[in-house]
Symmetry: C2
Subunit: 349 residues, 2 copies
């Protein structure tokens, strides 16, 4: 076996020669190559120029022995494609100047074909697939309806999600109309990425851990399920369903869909898998801050995770959330190599 099949086999809970590993936000500011490009281009320029997005996607692939690439993009371009005005403000992160707060705001959002409004990412996918030439698979991704709705309603990041939850509780019909539109947009965008060449799809519900399980079930689950169904269409492309802070609602995340469930570090991975059941694969779950630790501590923590799920099929090693900005690149290299070495012999038999 080799790297061309390792990640896909794990997605399908098939035998592997070593545990596959990739890292959320593996392309980004912790890499000098990326910072060099960012001196010349804004984030949105990198994302919207297919050649540059392809180049950024490949930077970590050249630097580390990763088992999958993930297309360089941002979850918020989808909101922009619906008519929201997105800006990346230095120090403040993404800001949306015309947030969604009313029934009229929802009605004003227009769903257009992904090829028309998000074609730059689809083209980048085609370029990367050509470059990778089958050596490792490429992941496409989108934000999940709830996380996108939160950004769109709050107008940016949030601590308590009072406006997003406020819309839920005060205007449930508007909430559901908005979420239905987002589910459609997310599903079609993911489907288009698959058609452009993405071999696995990940749906990021990064902020879903702000919800109670009961609110998740009522206000979010049906829309996440719809998005995943549309993404798969009548194909069997593996879908990774990722969230943080989901330790108290893993069965609901699974109920919403996904062949692989991504979990953060706030729960033991084996315990998470027990709660999910062996009919899904799992992805995770090293605390990204551990990558700041000395290399022996990184290896100790990676080994703990690997030991805990030894003997099960379908583990994809990853962090519990994205790589942090000041992560030393040599620590990333050490982690990736360690996961392969530790699981290459004896572990998977």
């Amino acid at each position: 076996m080799n790297q061309s099949t390792r990640f896909l086999n794990a997605c399908n809970r098939q035998p592997v020669d070593a545990t596959p590993v990739w890292l959320m936000r593996q392309a980004g500011r912790y890499m000098a190559e990326y910072r060099a490009l960012r001196e010349r281009y804004s984030i949105l320029e990198l994302i919207k120029t297919p050649d540059l997005a392809a180049e950024v996607t490949l930077q970590p692939i050249r630097a580390f022995n990763l088992d999958a690439a993930i297309i360089f993009a941002d979850i918020l371009t989808l909101l922009e494609s619906l008519g929201l005005h997105l800006e990346f403000v230095k120090g403040d992160g993404p800001v949306i100047r015309n947030p969604v707060r009313s029934s009229a705001d929802v009605a004003a959002l227009t769903l257009r074909p992904p090829e028309e409004v998000l074609g730059f990412t689809l083209e980048a996918i085609r370029l990367v697939r050509r470059e990778l030439d089958g050596k490792i698979p490429l992941i496409g991704f989108s934000g999940a309806p709830f996380t996108l709705a939160s950004y769109a309603i709050e107008g940016g990041g949030s601590r308590h999600y009072t406006l997003a939850k406020g819309l839920m509780y005060h205007q449930p019909a508007v909430w559901h109309a908005f979420m239905s539109k987002l589910a459609e947009a997310v599903g079609l965008y993911l489907r288009a990425q698959a058609e452009a060449g993405a071999q696995v799809l990940q749906m990021f519900d990064s902020w879903v851990g702000s919800l109670s399980p009961a609110d998740y079930r009522e206000y979010v689950l049906p829309h996440s399920r719809r998005a995943i169904e549309l993404a798969k269409g009548n194909t069997d492309i593996p879908v990774i369903h990722f969230g943080t802070g989901t330790a108290g609602m893993l069965p609901l995340i699974k109920e919403a869909g996904g062949d692989i469930i991504g979990v953060d570090w706030r729960i033991d991975l084996a315990e998470a898998w027990d709660r999910l059941g062996s009919d899904v694969a799992v992805q995770g779950n090293l605390d990204p801050v551990v990558l700041y630790a000395p290399i022996p501590e990184i290896k100790k923590q990676a080994a703990r995770i690997l030991d805990s799920v030894k003997g099960r099929s379908g583990h994809i090693f990853n962090l519990g959330h994205g790589i942090l900005q000041h992560t030393p690149v040599e620590h990333v290299a050490a982690l990736v190599d360690f996961v392969h070495e530790y699981t290459a012999e004896g572990y998977h038999q």
Copy 2:
């Protein structure tokens, strides 16, 4: 039965006539009476003037039909008592000007008798007990060692806790020395509050949900346990052990100690209680943002929580974290009354 015993009975998993309810941060900016005082005094002046702290403690007791009072104080005065310079900066929240980053910083911290350095809170406890005159019990509290260590190391609030975790991973001996000192300080402070008249103690580990269960076990649990042991001394005073984001490590929170485990809204309360076992009481767990919702939604969500644990002894109704700043007071009143009405007849038989 009446309100003098309802809360304490629930703490001890004894029969009650209705489910007791109090709310974290029940004294605070959402109340006009509090804002009026804050126009004349800083937060630290309110905390350090026993008459004023007692007055603020009693404001929500006069306004709502609560089953317990909690002394008005702040978890960070304990850090100040050890020699750290604490300031409340408008917009930024608490800031510590001389954060703890090294072995020398830890050595410089001096443990002094609580009566000497935190006497204002102990005196406020004595005043409030006198005013309450046995009508409802009074809760004393402290931050837990980890949450205090995080503030002290980061120098304020934090998103990723990279400095706190950095000290853990890079200088574990310094970390443990600091945590030992904090455990001692927390334990003695809580004990002193009990001796001054607090009838129940709560230890807030608000940021503990940033940790993996494995890191909690290795770097935090022994120190939280030590603090709780010291707090109880050879008495049987009930201790509430509260954290947020703990859905993935509830058995470890229990292992660290506490007669009542406080949980946030990110897990169903009945499921949390199942994982903890019936030999502890539980406190929680309405999402504080729900108090912004229309009153029928508040009642629906409170009823869901109450229904889920019906038939079990030892539930204290509370939010999953503190009341938010713009919460309408009439919603607080409606919630408190609803919990009593819903559980007054039939529910507890």
